[in-house]
């Protein structure tokens, strides 16, 4: 059982890894190719099959007038919107999650779990259902086609993720830790900031990373709620057209757009596998 299991495990992991990594490698090599290397038959290995050059990458920062695609501004727009919305979502989400985990709310038949589910249900709804209300709302407050408007919408989309992850996390933090903090002279705010929060860092990081991932990859709302003034990266990339923009530049822009997510994935992986509360209660 043991050896066969190990063999099968690594066998499938290897196949899966090849399946996942191959397109990225393909994009990576393509981004360094020129016209001849792309159109003159299949080439794989730089310096052997073809001579790599940086032309594909240079196009990314050139303005359209110079024949480039200029994804710099959309890139920083996306970073700004995603990070700001994620940060605000984490702060609000953590506070609500702590309240939902520790205090009892009751309004008729509505209890804590129902409130938690209400948050999550915002994500269960198909996004298209929300698009018209969002559009009308942003139009009414004059925030269509603006970074602030996008941040507001993204908070609505990302906060449920933060609440969901943090409620689960706080439920696993023993209540006795809060109680001990109260007994040791903390008022409820101090208990939260001095004791509960420092022990919630793994949860905060995981929630933050998920917010960043979902914020970064959103195309739908970025597409609907912006027109000319503001453009986010996913919209910009989709707008690229292979008949105008060369393949090597498309490959390069695809790679820079997933780069932040790859970084995030490595950080999340470390925290998903270990908790910090093992010593709190035994």
């Amino acid at each position: 059982m043991g050896k066969l299991y190990t063999f099968l495990k690594y066998f499938f992991i290897t196949i899966w890894t090849v399946f996942v990594v191959a397109p990225f490698l393909w994009a990576l090599t393509t981004s360094f190719k020129d016209f001849n290397s792309v159109n003159g038959g299949v080439t794989y290995i730089p310096w052997v099959d073809f001579e790599p050059n940086l032309e594909g990458w240079r196009v990314l920062i050139k303005s359209p007038a110079e024949g480039g695609v200029d994804i710099v501004e959309p890139y920083f727009n996306s970073l700004f919107v995603t990070c700001t919305a994620s940060l605000i979502s984490i702060i609000l989400g953590t506070l609500s999650a702590y309240a939902l985990s520790r205090y009892t709310f009751k309004a008729g038949p509505i209890k804590n779990n129902d409130i938690t589910f209400f948050f999550i249900s915002q994500r269960i709804m198909p996004p298209i259902v929300l698009s018209i209300p969002f559009f009308l709302f942003l139009g009414a407050v004059n925030l269509l086609d603006s970074l602030i408007g996008l941040i507001v919408v993204y908070i609505v989309l990302l906060m449920p993720i933060a609440v969901w992850i943090m409620v689960d996390f706080f439920n696993k933090v023993p209540r006795e830790i809060d109680e001990t903090a109260l007994i040791d002279g903390c008022n409820p705010y101090q208990a939260f900031f001095k004791v509960v929060l420092p022990n919630s860092i793994p949860g905060l990081i995981v929630a933050g990373m998920f917010c960043i991932i979902f914020g970064w990859i959103d195309f739908f709302f970025a597409f609907i709620l912006t027109f000319t003034e503001v453009q986010l990266l996913p919209v910009k990339i989709v707008a690229l057209n292979s008949s105008i923009t060369p393949w090597w530049s498309l490959s390069a822009s695809a790679l820079v757009s997933v780069a932040p997510l790859i970084v995030v994935a490595f950080i999340v992986e470390r925290y998903l596998s270990k908790g910090n509360l093992s010593g709190a209660i035994k």
Partner: protein, 359 residues
């Protein structure tokens, strides 16, 4: 200047509630709350701590209404049965936490923390992470954190229950010394436990709690010698006291075709039917005794617990050595009738070998 509770009621669930509990705890004394699981021990301690607000009743301390003071201003300390520490802080920082919260100067904090580490035998561990400690050491840290505050009320909620047998014995002994030496005359210590031996060993004032009600209050010795009723007798003995329905007839105690000469201290009982109570340790193997059948034999530490039956009578006896019995073996036993108890049909103590009686 005592801690006085009156008619405290609190309903958590149907099974778990406090029913009109009153107490009067004096400074400088050790109190043990003895009761089974779900008897309301933790609920009572949390109510005193201020973590739970009673539905009705009052708590007064030093003449002030304690219920109006929030937890963080009460100057109490509490040790939980789970080993609760702050996982993000090391041992030193954990113990220093309540003092820092009070705003003491670092010099003073240092001094107090090291004193308290010494008291619980954790010198040299101050830089360790909590996660690196064993269960017993973690519990020592939380005891140190509760002692360092010099709190006026120290609550210990079954602090030894999650430790292994050996460590429990050792810590129990140490705790006793800590409570006697390490605390000021000003402190009230309240220790809750399910283990009657622990209560007897700590030798303080015992409050027997059952289903949220106080059954009996008294010195440990008094509770052990003169349990007020059948429930107290069951809770304050481990294994529980054997209770057998018996009758008195012509100076004999009779049950299941067994006849025992009535001992002097039971001779005053007038009722014909009563409950005959005898501790497991007061039943001995004797070749001239009465025949019982072994239902179960368990070895616990250095003693053997025998569960025996004869007709409808079931008794447990503890033998001070490890012996091998098989199920359905026949054994002969004798009762030390001079150590027997009598409870009347309603369950109240009628007569005890230590002079307690209602007849």
């Amino acid at each position: 200047m005592n801690l006085v509770g009156e008619n405290l009621s609190y309903k958590l669930t149907e099974e778990l509630q406090l029913r009109k509990i009153s107490f009067n705890f004096e400074k400088g004394k050790l109190y043990t709350i003895l009761g089974r699981t779900l008897s309301g021990k933790t609920t009572l301690l949390k109510t005193i701590a201020g973590l739970l607000m009673p539905d009705s009743g009052t708590i007064k301390f030093e003449g002030k209404n304690f219920l109006e003071i929030p937890v963080w201003e009460r100057n109490i300390a509490m040790v939980y049965q789970q080993f609760i520490n702050y996982p993000h802080l090391n041992v030193f920082e954990n113990i220093a936490f309540p003092l820092k919260q009070r705003g003491l100067d670092p010099q003073k904090i240092n001094e107090e923390v090291f004193n308290s580490l010494k008291l619980v035998g954790l010198e040299g561990y101050e830089k360790r992470k909590i996660q690196e400690l064993s269960g017993g050491q973690q519990q020592r840290v939380s005891v140190a954190r509760s002692l360092v505050k010099n709190a006026k009320i120290l609550l210990l909620d079954e602090p030894l229950v999650n430790l292994d047998y050996k460590l429990r014995e050792q810590l129990r002994e140490e705790f006793k010394n800590i409570f006697i030496n390490g605390l000021s005359e000003e402190s009230i210590v309240i220790f809750s436990t399910t283990d009657p031996r622990e209560a007897m060993e700590l030798n303080g004032e015992v409050i027997v709690l059952d289903e949220g009600k106080v059954l009996q209050v008294g010195a440990a010795k008094e509770i052990f010698e003169n349990p007020k009723n059948l429930k107290v007798a069951a809770i304050s003995n481990d294994p529980p006291m054997n209770i057998l329905k018996a009758e008195i007839d012509s100076n004999k105690i009779k049950f299941e075709n067994i006849e025992i000469d009535i001992p002097d201290h039971l001779s005053k009982i007038k009722d014909k039917n009563f409950n005959f109570g005898i501790r497991a340790s007061d039943v001995e193997l004797n070749d001239n005794g009465f025949e019982f059948e072994v239902e179960l034999a368990e070895i616990s530490g250095s003693e053997t617990l025998l569960h025996l039956t004869r007709g409808n009578a079931k008794i447990i006896t503890s033998i001070e050595e490890v012996m091998d019995f098989k199920i359905r073996d026949k054994v002969k036993i004798n009762f030390k009738s001079n150590k027997a108890y009598a409870f009347d049909e309603t369950g109240n103590l009628a007569s005890s070998p230590f002079g307690g009686s209602s007849v």
